[in-house]
């Protein structure tokens, strides 16, 4: 006899792992639309995705989707922060769009998809909370709040850095003044030089300029610690001042400010790999330490070894075993020759002595003529060089 269950049976673990998928599906009626998405040709999962992406236009885009087109206002478009249920507001909105389309209601198609940015505007239907901090807009991944996008150096700041460099200021001074890390200052100067070289060679095409201009609009900008004093041109200085003042006086809702997050921390210290090991060792005063002990601690050879090495480096003993004396090159005979047991040994100064010396010669006047014109293999040679056929 079966006993009534008190609690529902737990789902199979492998199913439970895909809980996220189960929670994010769209209602069944959203899949039953007549024209779109074409469920009959798709799996259920794929149909889910098509609802999420939105209707396709003739050129293959999904213009209704907020994420389809890259931003043009230096405010990134990332998924809302927060995992799980908080993020479902986005899916609820898409769900509503899908069912509206299904029921043939006046489809709320925003002419400007930016107006439904879940982070910037409160949605009257779903009450999606606005991003708590503007900094949240810089976090691209919902599950990882530790990742943020970097800031692009504004054109003003770049030109200021390059002008300072051309004036002969050191990179450290520039880094301190503008609050940009030293490595970044060096990289900016290096890239500016590269760009200038390419421009002079005519390698920058109009499409590359277009690419550059468009990509610059996707990322937040920073001007570091620039101030009015950094401008040579008075007009430029005035516009900069006005811009800063207007931003301070009227902070708008739609234009988030990332002033605080754009600054580099130049006091940060990255430990170089070599500094990772202890290079000092403290010893009691009365302990005697020799060079051998020091070498052992540092994990290198002893000092004597290096002294010997340096002496040995200049002279080397070379033996010509099995070479008859008459066959020795003339240069070798000039060097100091010692013979023991029929083996000739020569002491060669590697920095000075040369066995082979190149001298100019004419073809045909020197060397051996070989047999076949195109074939220099040994068997076709007329002249066999016996000197090299040692035992």
């Amino acid at each position: 006899m079966l006993l009534p269950r008190i609690s529902p049976a737990p789902a199979h673990p492998s199913r439970v792992f895909f809980r996220s998928y189960a929670a994010r599906r769209f209602p069944r009626d959203a899949h039953m639309a007549q024209d779109w998405p074409r469920v009959e040709n798709n799996t259920y999962t794929r149909s889910n995705m098509l609802i999420f992406l939105g209707e396709q236009s003739v050129n293959g885009d999904h213009p209704e989707n907020f994420y389809c087109y890259a931003p043009k206002n230096n405010v990134p478009k990332y998924l809302p922060q927060g995992s799980g249920r908080r993020n479902q507001a986005l899916f609820r909105r898409l769900n509503r769009l899908a069912s509206d389309r299904l029921n043939g209601n006046a489809f709320f198609a925003p002419r400007d998809p930016d107006s439904v940015n879940p982070l910037l505007h409160n949605d009257p239907f779903d009450a999606v909370p606005k991003a708590v901090h503007d900094e949240d807009l810089l976090k691209p991944f919902p599950l990882n709040p530790y990742v943020t996008t970097g800031f692009m150096l504004s054109d003003m700041l770049k030109s200021a850095i390059i002008k300072s460099h051309e004036r002969g200021e050191s990179n450290i001074v520039i880094s301190q003044r503008y609050g940009i890390k030293l490595a970044r200052v060096e990289a900016t100067i290096k890239l500016a030089e590269l760009e200038r070289d390419m421009e002079n060679e005519g390698k920058i095409t109009p499409d590359m300029v277009r690419f550059d201009n468009r990509m610059k609009l996707m990322f937040p900008l920073t001007s570091g610690h620039m101030s009015q004093a950094d401008f040579q041109d008075p007009d430029e200085a005035i516009t900069f001042e006005l811009r800063v003042a207007s931003k301070r006086d009227s902070p708008s809702d739609t234009e988030p400010s990332f002033d605080r997050s754009g600054n580099d921390n130049i006091y940060e210290y990255v430990v170089p790999p070599k500094a990772d090991k202890q290079i000092y060792q403290f010893l009691p005063e009365d302990e005697v330490i020799t060079t051998d002990d020091a070498a052992k601690i540092l994990g290198v050879e002893s000092a004597e070894f290096y002294v010997d090495e340096m002496e040995n480096l200049s002279t080397q003993r070379v033996s010509f075993a099995g070479v008859p004396e008459e066959d020795l090159p003339s240069a070798v005979c000039d060097w100091k020759l010692a013979t023991s047991n029929g083996v000739h040994e020569v002491e060669v100064n590697t920095s000075k002595d040369r066995l082979w010396v190149f001298s100019s010669a004419k073809v045909g006047k020197v060397g051996y003529g070989y047999g076949a014109r195109d074939d220099a293999r040994k068997k076709y040679r007329k002249h066999k060089d016996t000197r090299l056929n040692y035992a």
């Binding site: 809980r19 996220s20 890259a70 691209p140 990742v147 490595a183 920058i204």
Partner: protein, 441 residues
């Protein structure tokens, strides 16, 4: 040759997030939830976390290759100017240092610098010899970059990877056909209700976000004004070829003659009088000789087109038509010269091909194929669904103009921040680290 993946990389059922800009991958990222690990054994927890994190970090290299560079000693950086020492404001996600060794690889750095849509594509570029490191071609994708290295990618490859896909000839024609139809419908709407259409303005098919309708209108107006001014100057010149009006002048005269005769006949039948009605020339005929010629032609029973009088009249009518045409153009010009925010009944004439010289005024050629020799969509436009993946790395300084970048340092981990870019949660990183550190060499 790279190994073919044994599983569908962007599988919707698996739902793993890959390092790719594909829209299907974006959907997988959007629907991703926290790992649900509680009921599993410790080993399975670690294994599942490893699976998730390795799917994103270096899914193009083998497990053996990855373990060759895996470093169990994780690091973070110190802040020398800590205003409140001893009070840590945020947790240091040190486990995210796990995949730093992979970020040093050339192919991953090319992907992070946004010169390729995935590390796989970056590896392709490297293998094909499209990437230079410090001015020299580098064909090894696992080349470890050192601080200060400059790498440069062939611009055509970058524009192809980051830009829209180049449409085929058929696709381009299909899209243009649709656009032409939309535009035609809009012009018909303008003819019907010019004022409502003026408030809406024309919105072309979006390619890189919505186009500013007002901007397009203003652009067309400028072209139209220039064209009109040029045309009026041409018409006012002495040597302007006026033979184009001859046909209409002759036909106009003939119809006027027939109308005159018809009205005469009606009055004849009603009054039963044989005398013809008096011929009154129109007001624009001023000279006596022309008036007489007019009377002579219109009092005749039929028109004799070879007669001198008729020819004289036609000559005069051509002049009149010419004057009308100039006046019309000037009237249109004065309408176009009004402020662009002001409604005028003929405002939409500026979109016409005779003024813009273009079939579709917002694009200067077939859709996506303005320069068909290029391997990418022209004019260059960013690919769709680039927005959620457009992340600027902290450890690489990029110059988009020259398609080159400087690898400044290895990415670091600091308080509350990770320079290693990863959609995987910290918990999964910790578990994955435990998985690998278990089998330390």
């Amino acid at each position: 040759m790279p190994k073919k993946p044994s599983v569908p990389l962007k599988s919707l059922v698996r739902g793993l997030v890959r390092s790719s800009w594909h829209k299907q991958n974006f959907y997988n990222l959007a629907k991703k939830d926290d790992l649900y690990l509680a009921p599993f054994s410790e080993y399975k927890q670690r294994w599942l976390s490893k699976r998730e994190s390795r799917a994103y970090h270096g899914d193009h290299i083998t497990e053996h290759q990855w373990q060759g560079v895996f470093n169990p000693h994780l690091k973070s950086v110190a802040n020398f100017n800590n205003d409140n020492p001893g009070q840590s404001t945020a947790e240091t996600p040190i486990a995210m240092d796990l995949f730093t060794p992979l970020e040093r690889r050339l192919d991953v750095a090319v992907f992070r610098a946004m010169f390729a849509s995935s590390p796989k594509q970056a590896r392709q570029f490297v293998a094909q010899g499209k990437v230079k490191v410090n001015g020299r071609r580098m064909q090894y994708c696992r080349y470890p970059l050192r601080p200060g290295d400059v790498f440069q990618v062939e611009p055509d490859c970058v524009l192809r990877a980051v830009g829209r896909e180049k449409p085929s000839q058929e696709k381009s024609e299909l899209v243009d056909e649709q656009q032409r139809e939309n535009f035609r419908q809009f012009l018909a709407y303008c003819e019907e209700d010019a004022e409502d259409a003026f408030n809406e303005k024309f919105q072309p098919m979006p390619v890189d976000g919505l186009m500013d309708g007002d901007a397009l209108y203003r652009k067309c107006r400028l072209t139209a004004i220039e064209t009109l001014k040029k045309r009026i100057a041409e018409m006012e010149a002495e040597d302007f070829d006026r033979s184009i009006y001859e046909e209409s002048a002759v036909s106009g005269l003939l119809t006027a003659f027939e109308e005159f005769k018809a009205s005469n006949k009606e009055s004849d039948t009603s009054t039963d009088d044989t005398s013809t009605a008096e011929v009154t020339p129109p007001s624009h005929i001023e000279t006596d000789s022309l008036k007489e010629a007019y009377k002579k032609v219109f009092s005749a029973k039929a028109v004799n087109q070879d007669s001198n009088e008729f020819k004289e009249l036609v000559k005069h009518f051509i002049e009149v038509e010419h004057g009308f045409a100039i006046a019309e153009s000037q009237e249109l010009l004065s309408e176009f010269l009004a402020p662009s925010s002001q409604f005028t009944p003929h405002w939409w004439y500026v979109y016409k091909k005779e003024f813009t010289g273009l079939d579709l005024p917002w694009q200067e050629g077939p859709y996506g194929l303005e320069d068909p020799d290029k391997p990418y969509f022209t004019p260059w436009t960013p690919r769709p669904f680039l927005a959620p993946f457009a992340i600027l790395p902290h450890h690489i300084e990029i110059s988009f103009k020259s398609c080159s970048a400087v690898y400044m340092r290895d990415p670091v981990i600091r308080e509350g921040h990770s320079e290693v870019i990863s959609p995987i949660s910290l918990e999964a990183h910790q578990n994955a680290y435990r998985f690998y550190v278990r089998r330390r060499k």
